[in-house]
């Protein structure tokens, strides 16, 4: 499985999201590193090493949709068009429960679509999923 630490890049204009995830994951035996980006552009910069933070493989991206500057869909398009980054595993984590957003996200080949209000208090279900996912799934290198 995934040896060592796993990076989780949280792209969301609400900094609380990464904070909650950090809190939920801190008691885990695997070492997670939560890196946050405030919008799609910031996320791309982090992935390309152009920011003061950086991610290492293996990593998982948690992506919000409605963000200023570059939104989630624009980020996905840029990501899938980038030869280096196109195989990144992305989960959408949005407040939107609109069918149109969901189908559009899957069209961009996300690994899963989560609605923030439906993943339990304090994202408990998301935390559980992340742990099981990273313990079971081999992520790209």
């Amino acid at each position: 499985m995934n040896e060592g630490s796993i990076d989780i890049l949280v792209i969301d204009d609400d900094e609380l999201t990464s904070e909650i995830i950090e809190r939920r994951l801190k008691d885990s035996h695997l070492r997670y590193r939560v890196i946050s980006a405030c919008d799609g552009q910031d996320g791309l910069d982090v992935l390309k090493g152009k920011a003061d933070r950086s991610v290492r493989s293996p990593y998982i991206i948690l992506l919000d949709l409605n963000m200023p500057r570059m939104n989630g869909f624009e980020f996905l398009e840029a990501l899938r068009a980038d030869a280096e980054l196109r195989d990144s595993v992305v989960f959408v984590l949005s407040t939107s429960d609109a069918d149109s957003d969901r189908s559009r996200a899957y069209h961009e080949l996300v690994a899963g679509y989560m609605v923030k209000s439906a993943i339990g208090p304090q994202f408990s279900k998301l935390a559980k999923l992340l742990k099981q996912y990273t313990e079971t799934i081999w992520l790209p290198n």
């Binding site: 609380l16 909650i20 809190r23 407040t95 939107s96 429960d97 609109a98 923030k116 209000s117 304090q122």
Partner: protein, 497 residues
């Protein structure tokens, strides 16, 4: 003697010696004399040699005076001027073609007659047999029909000949395009087409002339007409080709759809705005609320054990209020999105629906449900009706002030509607407050009752958008209230499709 049918035929068919008419005896002659069709024989100089009784009646000339007259005088309108000049005897008419001719008579109203003239060339002398049939009555009906169907139609009508020349237009058509009566007559129909479409219109019109099936024009795209003042008007146009003795004609039906287009556009804009608003609410209001809830959780997590009691209590109260606001947003969204999905139609068995609605309410010891249903199954959209009844029943339970709760659902057929009563024995609704129960964000219960105040507004919206109506029956000083829903038992295309 008996009448032989071949003899009768011989009198009016070409190719038989006309002398036979003169030489007919007795009954045979009487048959021709008595025919309800005017029969006139003329010689090769165009002079009448024989006329029967009906022809004398039609021309209003004594029979004896008819013989010796020129046929061209009797039927002056059958030839155009140049033709008449080269054919003084009127023989060119004798083609066997049917013409409708208006006879100017000295006395009384003009007559319309149908004339057929045929050359009888078999004999030693060339004769022309002309039959004349009085069709005034039929023309009168045609004329009345034209007046009713064409002139008095509630939509614009246009008659165009095969070359695109406007033969006739009715008053509504003139009004749509801003012309005076008679102004468009004789002009080319392209004058009613905006300049940028004229070329295409001409080509299509020419193509249409060869494949003439009734159809609507420009199906699926915006069709506009050009008014006299140069402005364009959105129209819907249907085309019906037909044949006349004067050649192919096209009748165009034109409806001005300005008002419809305007309303549709407004509605589309309003819908788009509502959707935008709903999405803004969904995201922009929900996120900060979620954030607050999360921050409360952080505080409890970080200081839970050591925090002072009053602080913990207030945090709990904050959490409740956040939850209330969130459910309010959810209700508001479902209100905005109500009816956006198309409903499925099925036969609705009300008893089954009500049973499901009762089952959806969490059971409690004091809760009693009862039904008195006498209505028959009907066709309709089940899921909105379910939502309506669910809202009403849960409302009755939620706002009840006692442990013992009775809710009765009754139904009966009432004309095209089924009247469904949801009755409770709760505190009732004061008459002064009844007018505002269906409004958004109105809640009549105290703060201890949960509810965003959207339930009844949503319910009313669902009922009215499906062609029904809802009313509240409750009296001051008496416990209990009844919500009566009138739900249509028919499916209406504009409401349900």
């Amino acid at each position: 003697m008996t009448i032989r049918s071949d003899t009768h035929q011989a009198a009016i068919e070409p190719g038989v010696n006309p002398a036979v008419v003169a030489s007919l005896d007795g009954l045979e002659r009487a048959v021709i004399e008595d025919m309800r069709t005017g029969v006139v024989l003329s010689d090769d100089t165009g002079v009448v040699t024989y006329a029967n009784a009906e022809s004398a009646r039609i021309f209003q000339v004594a029979r004896d005076d008819l013989v010796g007259r020129r046929i061209a005088e009797l039927l002056p309108l059958t030839l155009s001027e140049p033709e008449a000049a080269t054919d003084p005897h009127g023989q060119a008419q004798a083609t066997g073609a049917t013409r409708e001719v208006r006879l100017k008579l000295r006395e009384g109203a003009d007559l319309w007659v149908e004339v057929v003239a045929r050359q009888l060339s078999n004999g030693p002398q060339s004769h022309v047999l002309t039959t004349v049939c009085d069709i005034t009555e039929r023309r009168d009906i045609d004329f009345a029909l034209k007046r009713i169907v064409f002139d008095q139609a509630p939509y614009g009508l246009l008659l165009i000949d095969g070359d695109g020349v406007i033969m006739s237009s009715n008053e509504p058509l003139n009004r749509i395009f801003g012309y005076q009566p008679g102004e468009v007559q004789g002009k080319n129909v392209e004058m009613l087409v905006p300049a940028r479409f004229r070329e295409g219109h001409f080509a299509q019109r020419s193509a249409f002339a060869t494949s003439p099936l009734a159809r609507s024009m420009g199906k699926g795209r915006d069709v506009t007409g050009r008014r006299k003042d140069g402005r364009e008007v959105p129209v819907e146009i249907g085309l019906s080709p037909f044949m006349t003795s004067a050649g192919r004609m096209i009748c165009a039906y034109v409806v001005d759809i300005t008002e419809r287009e305007r309303v549709e556009r407004k509605l589309r804009e309003a819908n788009a705005k509502l959707e935008e608003f709903a999405n803004a609410v969904a995201h922009d209001l929900r996120s900060p609320l979620r954030g607050i809830a999360n921050l409360i959780d952080f505080i409890v997590e970080d200081f839970g054990e050591s925090a002072p009691r009053p602080a913990i209590r207030n945090l709990d109260r904050m959490r409740d209020r956040v939850q209330n606001a969130e459910s309010m947003i959810a209700d508001l969204l479902s209100y905005a999105r109500a009816n956006q999905e198309s409903a499925k139609f099925e036969t609705i068995d009300l008893a089954a629906v009500v049973e499901e609605v009762f089952a959806a309410e969490p059971a409690s010891p004091g809760l009693h449900f009862e039904t008195k249903l006498t209505s028959e199954p009907f066709e309709g959209a089940r899921s909105p009706l379910w939502t309506v009844l669910r809202n009403l029943v849960s409302n009755a339970v939620k706002h009840h002030d006692r442990k013992d709760i009775h809710v009765v659902v009754k139904s009966r057929n009432q004309g095209d509607f089924v009247a469904i009563d949801v009755c409770d024995d709760g505190p009732g609704i004061p008459e002064a407050a009844q007018s505002r129960v269906f409004r958004l964000f109105q809640t009549l219960s105290g703060p201890d009752k949960k509810g965003s105040g959207l339930g009844l507004a949503l319910t009313q919206r669902l009922v009215s958008s499906h062609g029904g109506r809802i009313e509240l029956i409750s009296f001051d000083g008496r416990r209990g209230c009844t919500f009566r829903v009138w739900w249509p038992r028919f499916i209406r295309s504009d409401l349900d499709e």
